[in-house]
């Protein structure tokens, strides 16, 4: 690998790792708050136990998210100093706000995790809501930065430097609405599918556990709702991207020739030399419909753009296919779950259905990572689209091999440790509803 590739690999790996924990940090607090509210309403101790379990998961995952996020804030400079030196004040505002949102999340999480039983329960619930809201706010602000990189706005370039900077316009660059909506939904969806998958697996072994039935019901409900909403948000994104980032859409769809009645390709291997896509399934006029909601609309192809500005077509296309494939499977599961729940007037729990939920457990995170890859790969070769190329942003520090491998091994180690700890937490408690479980801060009081 060359210098630039090491830098991109380290940044990519750090982001891919952090994103899992950040998404969970955004979404798990929602589940603990839902469980708390239900416990207050019903007095059923299962809900209390569920809330405590969600809190423990949040504690472990949030800590890893916090430290890996710290690494990222430094890596922006360690790997891309010219980008930060040139555009630090253009994108600084949403970062500063994210800093504050993250701060309040950490404070309220401390109060929530260690305050149970020590502070009035209404106040405790308010702290939980504070965690959920500030988590969502920090995801919102940091996605604004990504939107600003995808379609920079609010400044003009002169001699390689931004002038006439309007930081508010830069903060709300055109893609901000669809990017933040899509990203936030993805956080809840990914977490909900993982939770539903885990609890479906437990239910398969312990079908009588009332605690896990309730946990499964809540996760499945959130999973189904987000899975049905996400394609609508995705359609909105595709529609906007077709207008504002046509090159990204063309790469994602491996769409080479500008044409009307452009087909939608499913799968397929793009041939960069001939500009053809082999073995793909084509839906006539599908891409025109997707991009412009009109089967006759013209969709710009890659060939209309200079070759040096092309993103890596194959990887962007595959990432897009994985995202859409996983998203469609989840949406289908969401619809089936809603149908079964309607027919049964209760939580669907057939073994076949439970197995399907187990199988779709990882799909949310797969789609989340793939979707992020689409937006990042699809922006290449630019770090700040149209104004700074990634290769011009990279650090002159010549020894990028050791830090790349260090962080890779470090994060793999942390990943294994976290999975082990979460597995332990899942097994620690009794399978039937019972007294508060072992271990963790909650156990001290």
């Amino acid at each position: 690998m060359d210098h630039l590739t090491y830098a991109r690999a380290q940044m990519g790996f750090s982001l891919a790792f952090h994103m899992l924990f950040a998404a969970v940090g955004v979404a798990l607090p929602l589940f603990m708050v839902i469980a708390d509210v239900l416990y207050r309403r019903t007095g059923d101790r299962d809900w209390l136990e569920f809330s405590k379990r969600m809190a423990k998961g949040t504690a472990i995952l949030f800590a890893v998210g916090a430290v890996s996020g710290t690494v990222l804030s430094f890596e922006m400079g360690l790997l891309w100093p010219n980008f930060m030196g040139t555009f630090g004040d253009v994108i600084g505002l949403p970062f500063a706000m994210e800093g504050f949102a993250f701060f309040t999340e950490a404070i309220f999480l401390g109060i929530y995790l260690y305050g149970r039983g020590r502070i009035p329960s209404g106040f405790h619930l308010a702290a939980g809501i504070g965690v959920a809201v500030s988590g969502a706010a920090s995801a919102f602000f940091v996605t604004l930065v990504n939107a600003a990189m995808n379609l920079p706005a609010g400044f003009t370039m002169e001699n390689g430097h931004p002038i006439n900077i309007d930081p508010i316009a830069a903060m709300f660059s055109p893609p901000w609405k669809h990017e933040t909506l899509h990203a936030l939904l993805a956080c809840y969806q990914a977490t909900a599918f993982a939770l539903a998958g885990i609890h479906a697996a437990v239910l398969l072994r312990h079908p009588k556990s009332s605690l896990f039935r309730k946990a499964f019901a809540v996760s499945l409900a959130v999973a189904s709702i987000t899975a049905v909403l996400q394609p609508i948000s995705g359609d909105h994104s595709a529609h906007s991207i077709a207008e504002t980032e046509p090159l990204k859409l063309a790469a994602a769809e491996a769409h080479f020739k500008t044409q009307t009645h452009a087909p939608l390709r499913i799968g397929g291997i793009p041939d960069m030399k001939t500009g053809e896509v082999h073995y793909g399934l084509e839906i006539p006029s599908g891409l025109s419909l997707l991009a412009a909601h009109d089967p006759a609309a013209e969709v710009k192809g890659l060939n209309d753009f200079p070759r040096e500005d092309w993103p890596p077509v194959a990887s962007t296309h595959y990432a897009f296919e994985v995202m859409v494939g996983a998203g469609s499977a989840m949406a289908l599961l969401g619809v089936v779950a809603a149908f079964l729940a309607w027919r049964k007037k209760g939580v669907p729990d057939g073994r076949l259905f439970l197995w399907a939920v187990v199988a779709s457990g990882p799909l949310g995170f797969i789609a989340l990572e793939a979707g992020w890859l689409v937006t990042e790969l699809g922006r290449q070769p630019w770090i700040m689209h149209g104004v700074m190329r990634t290769r011009d942003a990279v650090t002159p520090f010549p020894h990028l091999l050791p830090p790349f491998w260090t962080f890779t091994v470090l994060y793999l180690f942390l990943g294994v440790a976290v999975v082990y700890l979460l597995f332990r937490q899942l097994r620690a408690a009794p399978m039937e509803a019972g007294p508060p479980s072992l271990g963790g801060p909650d156990a001290h009081h």
Binding site: V67, G77, P81, G85, D89, F100, I165, P167, F397, A417
Partner: protein
């Protein structure tokens, strides 16, 4: 009216002070976790875990806030520091990752096996390495050994920080954090009514306080050749002298209050001492952010961004400080910021 550059620089400095006091004490807790000894070894560790557990993540965010302020307010200084100090910054980050995750994993892993000890050891070692590296980074920034010519770092990636002065600043930071932590822990043990734990940490605080004094002298001596501009700022500017007098007064107050077992006073004085040390550093280095190439003024962001950042800071602080107060009020006694803690009857 102070300029916007000064307000943002001051806010960054304030965040660093708060990080040194609160985050620093958390690192210091890791030091005492390693050196837990005697018949109350387990109780010492339990006190440290109880003291750090609810607050370390919030305390840690001061650092993130300082970094975000640096790159949004003074982007070119951030870029130059990131290039020149790539190696110590990366090592520091590895320390940060191990410290935070090992501490949390220990809290949630099995209570009764060797894994607890392994996570604890990792937590402690990272708590020792990180402050040293942080001090090395600060010392190098102050030393004037990083040279930047027309945006290109020319002083190399190792030579500027592998020197005696930055190393001693690192040791000084470690000693200071350990001192802070010992004083805080003594005060918390005292408030909890545990006389034996109180005297354990009082003894540790007295030793650490003496070490801080000795290392400070060495560091100052090294600054003559290691950081001439800082040394000149420390001694040559008339308005830095009142700062030094105040720092010395705080240091002596802290030490004598510890001796007399007035832990509330000691806690306040050691916080004042730490903050004054950082303010003294900033005042000596002013107006440089990275000596000698980047000042607050030649690396500042565009004026509009600066104004908006100040507004965001004000709004954020209005949200932040009340929440922080609540956090500390819950976990650090009824009146955490009162000079004298109420003693339990």
């Amino acid at each position: 009216m102070p300029t916007t550059e000064l307000v943002l620089g001051g806010a960054m400095m304030a965040a660093l002070c708060l990080y040194a006091v609160f985050g620093g004490a958390d690192f210091g807790g890791g030091v005492w976790d390693l050196f837990a000894s005697g018949p109350r070894k387990a109780e010492q560790r339990a006190l440290i875990e109880k003291a750090i557990g609810p607050i370390w993540e919030a305390n840690h965010v001061w650092l993130i806030l300082a970094v975000v302020l640096l790159f949004s307010s003074f982007p070119t200084a951030f870029a130059a520091i990131s290039i020149a100090l790539h190696v110590p910054l990366t090592l520091f980050l590895i320390g940060v990752v191990f410290r935070g995750s090992a501490f949390t994993f220990r809290a949630y892993d099995d209570r009764n096996d060797g894994r607890q000890q392994r996570w604890g050891l990792l937590f402690s070692l990272a708590s020792i390495a990180s402050p040293i590296l942080l001090g090395v980074i600060a010392g190098t920034i102050a030393s004037g050994e990083i040279h930047v010519e027309s945006g290109v770092v020319t002083s190399g990636y190792f030579a500027p920080w592998l020197r005696p002065f930055p190393l001693f600043v690192g040791l000084f930071a470690l000693a200071l954090y350990a001192y802070l932590a010992a004083v805080f822990l003594a005060a918390e043990a005292d408030a909890a009514g545990s006389a034996e734990l109180t005297s354990d940490f009082r003894r540790r605080a007295l030793i650490a306080g003496a070490v801080v004094g000795v290392v400070a002298l060495f560091t100052f001596a090294l600054s003559f050749s290691g950081a001439p501009l800082i040394r000149a700022g420390l001694t040559g500017r008339p308005w830095t002298w009142p700062l030094h007098v105040a720092t010395a007064t705080a240091a002596m107050t802290a030490f004598s209050a510890l001796w007399k077992r007035k832990f509330g006073v000691a806690r306040l004085a050691v916080v004042a001492q730490t903050s004054l040390i950082l303010v003294g550093w900033a005042a000596s280095q002013y107006p440089y952010l990275l000596v000698p190439s980047h000042t607050l003024f030649n690396s500042a962001a565009n004026p509009r961004t600066q104004q908006l950042l100040i507004i965001a800071l004000a709004a954020g602080s209005a949200l932040l400080f009340p929440s922080l107060y609540v956090l500390y009020r819950i976990f650090k006694g009824n009146k955490p910021f009162r000079i004298l803690d109420r003693r339990r009857e």
